[in-house]
Amino acid sequence: MDFISILSIFVMACFVGYYVVWSVTPALHTPLMAVTNAISSVIIVGALIAAAEAGEGLAKWVGLGAVVLASINIFGGFAVTERMLAMYKKKEKK
């Protein structure tokens, strides 16, 4: 893809992010941070490419290191968000 198409996607995504995040209820701001943390680890895509295609040598190990770090974040981030969200309860009718 050429630079301008990519830039367009980026700019549009910034606007989408702006409106979506303002609609997040303040009570869920901590889960918001945890889940944004998890999804920003989509950087694992780059790490996987490096680990898969870089052949032998330093780049592969650097890539594998990044895979480990990003996986900690992905699994940890989603799991902790899930744990937090499970705690938000409405009044149960007794």
Binding site: F10, A47, A50, K60, N73, A79
Partner: protein, 525 residues
């Protein structure tokens, strides 16, 4: 290629159907053969990759990444209410699974076992941390996770630098093209700043490092100088001949680590909510920069979402403290706590001290109680005792509501999570602007571990460092209970609080958890 093993790679059970479909799609294309071979050629051949912006040439692959990006948008969208939030989180997991699986099936994977092991190790560490972490430790956990994203971005940037062919970044002369080099350098720099900044934030939040600002002389000059040097190095790196790039990128990486460290050490504990949000934003921009390098829409969309999210949270936090973002980043707030507070005048003023029994008696008589929790409640782990108190009071027919200031605690939404952990219903928990008018009709304002957020000086005293910050109007309540460890300490802003000395205020000086437990005993008896 062993695609069956891919099915076992990270995927939430709820998204299994979708993943299976995607895998089927992948297998179909493998049967047709051509596509995959074509992709492999594209991936490894510099001639084709010379378009410069990565591998996403196959429209199906690009589409899959786009779908992943849309799932991430839905994940954030789900957080608009607690009812939809868990579904949102699942969308996030599905999006991630799509991104990971798409990457794996579209690349020639020589070492799937090593990759599987890496994911397994990371996944086990991540899940273990997520299960064990105490809810009160959430701010440092988030800071810690940010540091990992930052470091991962640095590593991915370096991997792309060391092995540009794998990412299709080579231009006709066998060097990396300049645009990719700029994106790469920015990704590495932002990632490194995120990493070292988050490590400091983590150390401060977890008490491994003192929360007080550490002020270097001429720090603004040093910081701006370092930032400028990083930009210059980025430009030089982009223009350098293939053989001469190594020292530039090494220097750039090291300086970015240093500046992240320097930027966060002068910022005090009270401003940590802003710092954590800001680092959240940085981790997003780092991911977006790497997305530009790889031409990957999932990374770009996510990066923009996360970047925007962190920026908005920083803005909300600053607004809630009536402070300029730049002033927070410049740091130093709360450094002169001893001097500015006017210590000698403060100690002289009379205040009323009460016991748990007094408090329990008056709470029973009340019709409406508003509880204002703050960081002190988190430190004392008093949320469960507080919930018990709420239950006991409700049995007596007292209406109890919770009022949360946006900057209560050490990160956005910190108090809400703790109350949720203690199973306080979220429809009893209100934000500042929604509940502030109710103090005039409430019998008791019950302040537990909060201080600056109820300080009337923010409304009246122009010389106060917190002047202009929106605060709770507790002075309008008929009765104020103020749980505080001792009269000695002041809030993070280091200012005295007139609420202590009001006629209707009763100070309950004790550890927050012990005090609430004693009140509960008295209420029960």
């Amino acid at each position: 290629m062993r695609f069956h093993s891919l099915l076992r790679s990270p995927g939430p059970r709820s998204g299994a159907g979708l993943i299976r479909d995607l895998a089927k799609l992948a297998r179909l294309r493998i049967k047709s053969g051509l596509t995959v071979v074509g992709l492999a050629v594209l991936a490894s051949s510099p001639a084709h990759a010379a378009t410069g912006e990565g591998l996403a040439v196959n429209p199906w692959v690009a589409l899959a990444y786009l779908v992943a990006g849309v799932f991430f948008i839905l994940a954030l969208r789900g957080l608009s209410s607690p009812e939809t939030s868990r579904k949102g989180n699942r969308y996030g997991m599905v999006g991630m699974a799509i991104a990971v699986i798409t990457t794996l099936v579209t690349h020639q994977i020589a070492n799937i076992i090593e990759i599987g092991v890496a994911i397994l190790i990371g996944g086990m560490i991540g899940v273990t941390i997520a299960r064990r972490i105490a809810m009160t430790a959430m701010p440092e956990l988030v800071a810690g996770f940010h540091s990992l994203v930052g470091l991962a971005a640095v590593l991915v940037g370096w991997a792309a630098y060391l092995s540009p062919a794998a990412f299709g970044l080579l231009d006709a002369d066998g060097g990396i093209n300049s645009v990719s080099k700029i994106e790469m350098a920015l990704g590495i720099a932002i990632g490194a700043i995120t990493f070292s900044g988050s490590v400091i934030a983590f150390a401060k939040l977890s008490g491994r490092m003192r929360g007080a600002p550490i002020l270097l002389p001429a720090r603004h000059v040093i910081n701006l100088g370092t930032l400028a040097t990083i930009l210059v190095l980025t430009a030089l790196f982009a223009m350098a001949a293939p053989g001469a790039t190594m020292p530039l990128i090494v220097g750039l990486t090291v300086l970015a680590f240093v500046i992240g460290f320097l930027l966060i050490i002068p910022i005090g504990g009270a401003d940590m909510p802003v710092v954590v949000s800001m680092l959240n934003s940085y981790s997003g921009w780092a991911a977006a920069a790497m997305g530009f390098t790889l031409g990957n829409t999932a990374m770009i969309i996510t990066g923009a979402l996360v970047g925007a999210s962190g920026a908005i949270l920083s803005y909300i936090m600053c607004r809630a403290m009536n402070r300029q973002f730049l002033a927070v980043i410049a740091g130093g707030f709360g450094a002169d706590a001893g001097g500015a507070g006017g210590g000698e005048a403060r100690e002289q003023r009379p205040y009323k001290q009460g016991s748990a029994d007094d408090a329990a008696f008056m709470l029973k008589q009340a019709e409406k109680v508003i509880v204002i929790p703050g960081y002190g409640m988190a430190v004392a782990q008093a949320q469960h005792a507080l919930r018990e108190m709420t239950d006991l009071l409700e049995e007596q027919g007292v209406e109890v509501k919770f009022a949360i200031h946006p900057v209560a605690g050490r990160m956005p939404g910190h108090m809400n999570v703790l109350l949720a952990e203690a199973s306080v219903d979220y429809d009893k928990v209100f934000e500042l602007e929604d509940i502030n008018s109710e103090f005039a009709q409430c019998d008791v304002a019950f302040i537990i571990g909060a201080n600056d957020v109820v300080n009337p000086a923010a409304k009246s005293d122009k010389s106060s460092p917190i002047y202009g910050m929106p605060v709770f109007d507790v002075d309008k309540a008929r009765q104020v209970f103020f749980i505080k460890r001792s009269m000695g300490g002041v809030g993070y802003a280091g200012v005295d609080n007139d609420v202590f000395y009001m006629d209707q205020t009763m100070m309950l000086l004790a550890d927050a958890k012990k005090m609430v437990e004693e009140i509960n005993k008295a209420l029960d008896g």
